[in-house]
Amino acid sequence: MRIFRVCVKSTAVLWFCVCAAAQLKPPTDSWPTYHGDYSGQRHSPLTQITSENVNQIRQVWQFQTGQNQQIKATPILVNGVIYISTPDNLWALDVRTGSELWHYTWPKNNAFHIGHRGVAVYKDSVYLTTPDAHLIALNAKDGDVKWDVVVADSKKGYWSTNAPLIVRNHVMVGVSGDFDNLPGQLKSIDADTGKTQWIFYSTPPAGVSEPPSGGATGGQMWMTGTYDPELDLVYVGTGNPTPVLNGAVRPGDNPWTCSIVALKPDTGKLVWGFQTSPHDTHDWDAAEVPVLVDGNFNGTPRKMVMQASRNGYFFVLDRTNGKNLLTAPFATVNWAKGIDEQGRPIPDPNKEPARDGRLVAPSESGATNYRSPSFDANTGLFIVSAQDGYGIYFFKPEHGEYGWAGADYNVAGRAFLRAIDYQTGKIKWNHPLGDGALAAGVLTTASGLTFTGDVAGNAMVLRTSDGTTLWHASIGRMGNAPITYEMDGRQFVIFGGGSSLFAFALPEGLVK
């Protein structure tokens, strides 16, 4: 295990307690968790950068990872230190200069290196998942390893890209595993000791009958969940079932795959689940961010959870009980026959993968994917990276019953940023972002700005109310959503473009 230390900043001694209260309304000089706070709204109260002055923001620093991999992680900022990760790598950076404080590398391994979403911080520890599904706790000050535990057996086909969610002393870690028939598991690990506290299975492990998944495995929880301290419930999106494209061998709805599940953080006990894609046969995870919003729905105050799901539908649920309030498509869809009484799309059997191929919208890459959406309470808009796309899906018995068990090919897609009115599901505005792939994640601020990127590699700022472009800079393809914070009286925005982080702010002279 190699640890690179360039210099260790000794001034950062007042370690900020990343506790539940702080993550509800984190200090504006931090971005302490994947979504910025527990709600998943990825909305900041900062207002220094406005629609009037945003055209004057300038690059303040750049950090180049020197890696081939695109940055798909959210930077985490605590105590003046930015933590940014790629598979096998974690860097600690000085927030004021972007210069490296230390760099940790995990030994070379053969698990999938497809991306890394970020780290989590608790007390004076940083928690990093590895491609081969370990969780390591590092000293936040110098990157020294405190402990290293195996979350799941990578030899069986598990891997991890996950940015953990921490509630109290529970470090909740998810894994991936679509190429093998593996039970879906979310593991809670003691933040101090590394000991396993509980495992929630979205599909049953061998020899267990609950949940009754109809023979399906999968339902991996590879994305970071959200948390409501008042209800003391964690919300997590689950992935697609396995075998992936062969649905015939796993009859029924296959709970709790392609679902939003509400769990008790102390026990991992399921309180409710809602399936966005019953009996999925298209790899459409519901792993996307379950965004928590308190507000009116048709005149009634509600505690809601909202998700724009990979299958092309936008869902609003009552998060106290999982009951559906709204289901509406936000992208081109042709795979459902209607919506059932529970608010779930009804899959059309004619759009299941077949020997001669089925032309299906969305494509396998999805109507959206892991790149974070944002909710802006001022306008009531849920803003999401979307794609109208088509794929062809094949299955024949020769493809078997294991892992992918089928073949599919993306045909074409068009990327957009879409602003959804959460009370009606209607698209308030639609901003084209290019062809061929989904674009970037989203950040909104209380000054009415939306920060995102396009397919061509431009970082962009749009006006939240109508989607008008106000600013752009070519920085390379963004792998996730920007973050923002205030430091020394100045608001900064960090975009990850290509393999670099870029910090932008107004020139010092313009800041009062």
């Binding site: 695109q70 053969n110 061998v249 089925r358 062809i392 020769e398 045909v411 074409a412």
Partner: protein
């Protein structure tokens, strides 16, 4: 209802014949062998860097095609085609570039060739799509759709650009090309503030700049707000059509194109 339909589909599919040997993947042009050590090293690198998209066994994964059926792999000799592709990527098709060492690319090429040899010995194709799998359409109905509601004939003709298409392309390749011929260049004409016009093929376009390549191969780029332009994009019609095809239409047009030999 869903279950019985799914079960019926499975039964119907189970009754169909296996792929005949005549549809096997392209044969390796120059046979080549590698040390087991290099193949093992390549397996590890392949799994880490390529396995998610192309499958751990190279036979296709999430999005990426089955490499044992790849023409490029068949024509590759000791990485002479695979290594440059790894370094450049195929960004337009979603494949990133990789900064791998020569040792890594040599090892990856060795593993892919070894897998191809193994898969050829086994036959079939675990995640493949064979040309005869697609033979469910009616060519006559496809011709009617092509000339009628599909409006394909407004840009294409059986005796012109598509003459012999069924000989040039088969199976999945033909179907993909028919649905969306990636790489087909749009033509663009840019009108400069002076009133002069420049024409060429569209190289790139985003919200802020437009770039074309002219007949001499030179690239020129303008901020969007500085010029006026018109784009004739053959892919636009194909994309629109994706929202109109029924699966029957798709298979019928495929059958029609396949008959143009």
């Amino acid at each position: 209802m869903l279950l019985s339909a799914a079960a019926a589909t499975a039964q119907e599919q189970a009754g169909r014949a296996q792929s005949p040997a005549s549809q096997r993947p392209p044969e390796t042009v120059k046979p080549q062998t590698y040390s087991s050590e290099l193949i093992r090293a390549g397996e590890g690198r392949f799994m880490a860097e390529c396995g998610f998209c192309h499958g751990r066994d190279t036979a296709g994964g999430e999005t990426g095609p089955d490499l044992t059926r790849s023409m490029l792999v068949a024509e590759d000799f000791r990485g002479d085609k695979i290594a440059p592709l790894l370094r450049s990527g195929r960004v337009e098709k979603g494949m990133p570039s990789f900064s791998l060492t020569v040792e890594d690319t040599d090892a990856i090429a060795a593993f892919i060739h070894d897998q191809k040899t193994k898969m050829e010995a086994v036959g079939g194709g675990r995640r493949g799509v064979d040309p005869e799998d697609l033979d469910t359409g009616n060519a006559e109905d496809g011709r009617s759709y092509f000339n009628g509601p599909g409006t394909c004939s407004t840009c294409h003709s059986a005796a012109g650009d598509l003459a012999g298409i069924g000989t040039r392309l088969q199976g999945l390749q033909l179907l993909q090309r028919m649905l969306y011929p990636t790489g087909a260049k749009a033509k663009v004409t840019v009108t400069l503030p002076s009133g002069n016009t420049v024409s060429g093929s569209l190289a790139s376009r985003d919200e802020f700049a437009i770039t074309l390549t002219d007949a001499s191969g030179e690239r020129a780029s303008w901020p969007i707000g500085d010029v006026k332009f018109t784009i004739d994009d053959p892919l636009a019609g194909h994309f629109e059509q994706l929202g109109k095809y029924t699966d029957h239409d798709m298979h019928n047009v495929y059958a029609y194109l396949q008959s143009l030999r």
